[in-house]
Structures are given as structure tokens and as C-alpha cells.
């Protein structure tokens, strides 16, 4: 692939106390690429996202971003370098209004196409609710705020952790419909998704995790159903 490598992990491990959740993950994202991460519950998908973004500590050299070691940086330092995470379960700030949630996402003042107006353009429904408390929105609308909040930092790479979790199928369609408009600005994305067919449909490449290890990797179009099932369930 001619595009330069944007993010690379090398033998990445993660633990929660005595429990080891990731075992030597080698993972990469090229510029402009959409990469899907699939796997069963507890396979370590969210842990991988947290380790990359710096919410879990790791050795400096085990995560490279723009070819710079960032493994030992804190999350707030990594976000300044142009990477962000849409966290699992949305996790808006309840004491901030909808618009404040967006504004605080952009408080690093990184230049780029995304602004409060651009987010309202992407998700018009949010504009009518801009002054409401973020907790008063429906689950789907909250997810839109969470995505908009992440976009506001104008990242080069955005990590989506289970954005469809707990949402109605029709809402999920709306949210995924926005994805091309996000990517077309040249942003790269990692999509953690339980729905295998959707994940493969929207991505260029996919990784499958099983019990903290990569069990399958390849271009999304070339992965067969049988191979995915085997990698997913280990059967």
C-alpha cells in the first residue's frame, strides 16, 4: 500500500492489575484507511482502543503514531497529537449542554474542517437541541454528540468504540450514513463493531481479536465468512 503508516502498535500488551487483556498485538492503520476491529465480547477490542489512546499505560515503543513513540504518553497528550476516541457507551458530560459538549471537544484548537457549525450540518437534529442538557437526548442523538465531540478536535485518526451498541437498527443506519462524509475529509478511522457484516462493509481492512490476540487480519473484501467465524469463535 503506498499510503504511509499512520498508527502502528508493536507487541502491545495491556493488563488490568493481575489480569492480562492483550497479548502482543501488532496492529496498524495507514493514512486514509478505515480499519475494522471485530471480535466477541471480552476479546479485548475496547482494551486495545484504550491502550492506543493512552487511557491504559504501555511502554513508549509499543505504540507509534506518525512514526513517533507515544505509548508512554497520557491520553491528554495523545489527543493533542491528533488522535481521538469515541468511547463505548457515549459518555457525554452530563453537566454540559449539547453545544458545550461539542465546544469542549474543540478546545485544543487544532485546525481542520470541523467546527460546531459543521457538526450541526452533519447531524441537523442536534442544532435544535443545542442548549438542552446532554442527558435529555435519545441514545442515538447522544451518540451523534459523542461523534461530533470527537470530530471537533479535528483528528487525523478517530477511533470509534462500539458506536452502535444499544441503538435501534434504523438509528445505526443514520449514524453509519454519516461515516463517508467524515472519511472524505482525509481522516482515518478505526471502527470497533460487533456486527461483522456491517464492519466488513464499511472498512478497507479488518482485524479479528480473540482472547486478547489477533486471530485474523486481511482486506475486508477478501475475508470469507468461514474464516471470520473461525477467527471469531475459535471453532
Amino acid at each position: 500500500m503506498p499510503e504511509p503508516v499512520l498508527l502502528q502498535t508493536h507487541d502491545l500488551v495491556a493488563r488490568y492489575g493481575d489480569f492480562q487483556a492483550l497479548f502482543g498485538i501488532d496492529f496498524s492503520v495507514s493514512a486514509g484507511e478505515v480499519v475494522a476491529v471485530i471480535g466477541a465480547n471480552g476479546a479485548g477490542k475496547s482494551t486495545l482502543m484504550k491502550a492506543i489512546i493512552g487511557l491504559l499505560p504501555s511502554p513508549a515503543g509499543s505504540v507509534l503514531y506518525h512514526a513517533k513513540p507515544i505509548g508512554d504518553l497520557a491520553a491528554h497528550e495523545i489527543t493533542h497529537l491528533g488522535m481521538t476516541l469515541v468511547p463505548e457507551g457515549r459518555q457525554l458530560f452530563p453537566s454540559l449542554s449539547v453545544e458545550e459538549n461539542l465546544v469542549i471537544g474543540g478546545q485544543m484548537n487544532r485546525p481542520g474542517p470541523w467546527s460546531v457549525a459543521a457538526v450541526y450540518d452533519l447531524f441537523p437534529v442536534l442544532k435544535q437541541r443545542r442548549h438542552q442538557p446532554s442527558t435529555s437526548l435519545s441514545g442515538g442523538q447522544q451518540q451523534m454528540v459523542a461523534i461530533g465531540r470527537a470530530l471537533m478536535s479535528n483528528p487525523d485518526l478517530i477511533l470509534f468504540d462500539e458506536v452502535s451498541l444499544g441503538l435501534a437498527p434504523i438509528i445505526i443506519n443514520d449514524i453509519y450514513a454519516a461515516l463517508p462524509r467524515i472519511i472524505e475529509q482525509g481522516m482515518s478511522a478505526v471502527i470497533v463493531e460487533q456486527d461483522i457484516s456491517r464492519a466488513l462493509a464499511v472498512s478497507d481492512r479488518a482485524y479479528c481479536l480473540q482472547e486478547g490476540r489477533i486471530s485474523l487480519e486481511g482486506p475486508s473484501g477478501c475475508l470469507t465468512r468461514a474464516a471470520v467465524n473461525h477467527a471469531y469463535f475459535g471453532v
Partner: protein, 288 residues
């Protein structure tokens, strides 16, 4: 008329108690930290102001030029150097560390300044008063403190809900992990919150030193008044804190009117009654 006088003076005294309480409320709101040494920091600020007036000849009012930056710097350094290490899920570390600080501050001040009573001389303003009605005089000094308290609370309210810093405070208080994803450094944010709290403490200390006499041992008492004002008003509600302070001041003055020995007792009893009847305070913050 004595009773009306007691109530009016109590309301004004409540302004001072609201100043004691505002800093306490601020740091609890941002980082769920209760600073047991809060009262001792107020006394420290009063002594700093005393030293400044004595060595520069400045009017006590003007000591804020030195005392506010000093206390703010101390707050930031203390939070980043010491208190950030105590934050987590366990309640003991922050409580015991600030308790240790309280003992160190009290005895340090005792060592330097002795147990003597001190008071700053604010000049003629101390005795000036406005006659509102026959037999009802309002001291200019207590009135000034009350107005300053309203000013401080208004500013804090505006800072919290109208500025980027306030937004960062609220976001960090809501969810520390996610706030980091916004590029916010929790440790720095908490440092700023403590710095701001000690700015309020500095103001409280300067006025404490002008309104009443003080000595190194009075810190815990100020902590308790501030704490009672916070709980009476309702946790997390700054204007409630002012009402709490006023209620406390009025109760104390009514108690003193009945029997001079009952002044403090009446304040504590009001607090206990509120706790019994409305455990979340009179004006609890509505979440969400």
C-alpha cells in the same frame, strides 16, 4: 429593635461565612475533595495579610495584591505536589493528608506568631455605620464583606457556567477519563481549581483579619462554619451556600441575643436541625 438588629447583623455575618464556604464548595464540586485544612488556610491568609500591612504599611484592603497571588501559587503547588496523589476512590488518603496539613499549619503559625490575638486595623471604616432606622445601624465594614461575598459568588458562578475554564472544571468533575480525551490534563485542572479556591480563601482571610480578632487556633472553627453553610445550603449550590451562611449567622446572633453562651451552639443546632429535616440541604443541586 434588638431582635431586628440581631437578625440584620446575622445576615451580614452570613456573608463572611459564605466566603468561608465558597472555596470549600468549589474544590468539592470539581474534585470531590474535602479540605480539612481549609480553615487553617483562611487563618494563614489572615496572617499573611497582617505581615504585609505591618511590613509595607499598606491598608489591609490592599494586601490582596500580595496575598491573592501567594495563596493561588500555594494552592496550585499543593495540589500538584501533594493532593493529586491522594485522589482516587479511597476516602481516607485525602482526609488524613489534609488533616495532617491542618495540624502542621496550626502549629507552624503558633511557632511563628505565638498564640496571641491579632487583628488588622482597617482605620475609620471600622467604626463607620449607616443608620437605616431609629436604633438600627449597619456597619460599613460588615456590609462591605457582605457585598464582596455576593461579588465572589457571582464571579464563581459566571466562571463555572460562562467560561472555558469552568467548562473544563465541570467536564473533569463529570468524568476524568473522558475529559482527558478532550486534551484536558486533570492534574493541571485540579491545580487550577485549588488555586482558585485559595484565592477565595485569601479574600476570606483578609476580611476575617479586619472584622474579627484571630489567632492560630481558630482555623478549625472557620472550617466548621464554612462546612455548615455548605450543607445547609445544599451541596454544589453556590447561592445556596450564601443562604446557608446567612442562616448560620442569623441563628448565631439570635442565640447570642438569648444568652451570650449560646451563640455558637445555636448555629450548630440549626445545622443539625437542617440535617435532620432536609439531609441534602435546603437547595440541593438538581442533577441532570
Amino acid at each position: 429593635m434588638d431582635w431586628l438588629n440581631a437578625i440584620v447583623q446575622g445576615i451580614l455575618l452570613g456573608g463572611l461565612y459564605a466566603l468561608f464556604a465558597a472555596g470549600l464548595s468549589l474544590i468539592f464540586g470539581v474534585m470531590r475533595l474535602v479540605n480539612v485544612a481549609h480553615g487553617d488556610f483562611i487563618v494563614l491568609a489572615a496572617f499573611l495579610a497582617l505581615v504585609v500591612t505591618q511590613s509595607t504599611g499598606l491598608h489591609p484592603f490592599m494586601t490582596f495584591i500580595f496575598v491573592i497571588p501567594l495563596m493561588a501559587g500555594l494552592g496550585y503547588a499543593l495540589q500538584r505536589g501533594l493532593l493529586n496523589q491522594t485522589l482516587g476512590h479511597a476516602i481516607l488518603p485525602p482526609l488524613l493528608v489534609t488533616f495532617g496539613l491542618s495540624v502542621i499549619l496550626q502549629n507552624g503559625l503558633l511557632e511563628i506568631f505565638s498564640a496571641d490575638n491579632q487583628k488588622m486595623d482597617a482605620g475609620p471604616i471600622e467604626t463607620m455605620s449607616l443608620t437605616v432606622a431609629e436604633g438600627l445601624n449597619i456597619g460599613v465594614m460588615p456590609l462591605a464583606v457582605f457585598v464582596i461575598a455576593i461579588g465572589v459568588i457571582t464571579s464563581l458562578q459566571w466562571m463555572f457556567y460562562g467560561t472555558a475554564l469552568g467548562r473544563a472544571f465541570r467536564a473533569t468533575s463529570d468524568n476524568q477519563q473522558i475529559a482527558q480525551l478532550m486534551g484536558l490534563n486533570n492534574r493541571h485542572i485540579f491545580g487550577l481549581a485549588m488555586a482558585l479556591a485559595l484565592v477565595v480563601v485569601a479574600i476570606a482571610g483578609i476580611f476575617l483579619g479586619m472584622r474579627t480578632s484571630f489567632d492560630p487556633s481558630v482555623g478549625p472553627g472557620r472550617l466548621i462554619f464554612g462546612f455548615e453553610a455548605v450543607i445547609i445550603g445544599g451541596l454544589g449550590n453556590l447561592w445556596g451556600t450564601l443562604i446557608g451562611g446567612i442562616l448560620l449567622g442569623v441563628s448565631q446572633n439570635i442565640g447570642a441575643q438569648i444568652n451570650p453562651g449560646w451563640q455558637l451552639l445555636a448555629g450548630h443546632l440549626t445545622f443539625l436541625v437542617v440535617l435532620a429535616v432536609r439531609p441534602r440541604g435546603l437547595f440541593p443541586k438538581v442533577d441532570g
